[in-house]
Symmetry: C2
């Protein structure tokens, strides 16, 4: 018998509000830098101000919004320098995660990555950028889950969330998706071969290229 997580996470109003807000921000419902008004959010999310403010604290901790006393919340606006730093650290951490995953990933983990990659390919064929992002997410989640470090997993999750914006735009860049697929395939290949160093190299290289693409995306957007 398989142990499926029975512990049902109690979904509090607050959690839901935070989740909804998070999604809204990640999906670009609010524009970076845009100010948010508590009363307004309360109405839209249908929660009390007390609960909303707790939710805001959560998002602020995730750096998805900025909370300045007496000025209220605003959607976090990231500078390129900051984004670049994130990509850099991400490269390090993801490289390390890949390195570790190479010797720790079990069959189930590998299969999950393979299936995510297959889905990515389908998404590329269909030119569905959102699905591509989702598939990449699953691909990495599988790897991180099997890398043996909850801390790395946790840090990466936080960092990646902060550059979702750029990732989404990057995927829409012509040619980037196919390029990305090649890189992921190389990473997965290294993992399957238990080639830790190769996996690290593939992972860091992938992030490096993603960073380059993000750079042009960032500039383009700035122009507009």
């Amino acid at each position: 018998m398989r142990e499926v997580d029975l512990k049902v996470i109690p979904r509090t109003v607050l959690d839901l509000a935070a989740q909804n807000l998070r999604n809204a921000i990640l999906n670009g419902v609010f524009r970076p830098g845009e100010r948010m008004v508590e009363a307004d959010l309360c109405q839209r999310l249908d929660v009390s101000r007390a609960s909303l403010r707790e939710a805001l604290r959560i998002l602020a901790a995730e750096k998805l919004i900025t909370l300045v006393p007496n000025r209220g919340p605003s959607v976090a606006a990231i500078s390129w320098d900051e984004a670049e730093e994130i990509y850099h650290v991400r490269a390090m951490l993801e490289g390390e995660a890949a390195f570790r995953a190479a010797t720790r990933l079990d069959t189930a983990g590998l299969r999950a990555m393979q299936s995510a990659l297959a889905e990515f390919d389908r998404a590329v064929a269909r030119r569905d950028a959102d699905l591509q992002i989702a598939a990449t997410g699953r691909f990495y989640d599988a790897m991180l889950a099997g890398c043996g470090s909850g801390i790395i997993q946790e840090l990466l999750h936080g960092l990646v969330a902060r550059i979702t914006f750029l990732r989404a735009r990057s995927m829409r860049r012509p040619g980037r998706a196919r390029e990305s697929a090649t890189e992921l395939r190389r990473l997965l290949g290294a993992l399957e071969a238990c080639d830790a160093r190769g996996a690290r190299a593939a992972a860091t290289e992938h992030v490096r290229l993603a960073c380059e693409t993000a750079r042009t995306v960032f500039d383009d957007q700035r122009a507009a």
Copy 2:
């Protein structure tokens, strides 16, 4: 004329409450795993429940406390595996920070590190573990401030806070302080010589040794 940060940070009740709680936890006023009662904290901190709960969200985001719905807050209890992961990631990030600092640190930064190290020596002579911790903190803060990556700085700050407990105990370990001083001196030497690789090596090695000491400390404490 020197630019001193004029921007006075508005100190809200909530910030103060969070700060006080944070200090209390880091200083071991509460024991790991101990449950906290909101009403109780409200009285002690003299804030309303609404404000307190926001403060709790902040600490939860910092992983200093755990918040389980319907069960309230409890002081975070860390397992050795988790602590080891933190040390490992910390080694990576601090190594990278040192590497970058080697070519970016200015004279003022170096002087700050030197002065922190001097203070550390005095603390060692006096066998004042708390002062040692504080001096190490200043030492690293100076390095991180000059490493050119706010992200690394931010991540390290969060990680280190989660192992304060172990660090404090480790410093009290006979011989560890002096050993630590030697390692820091080596790191600073590399930075002064702009030897990036040497700096990285020194930094990671320092963390590695700290991790080993922490390990024995953790076990000892477990026995009691």
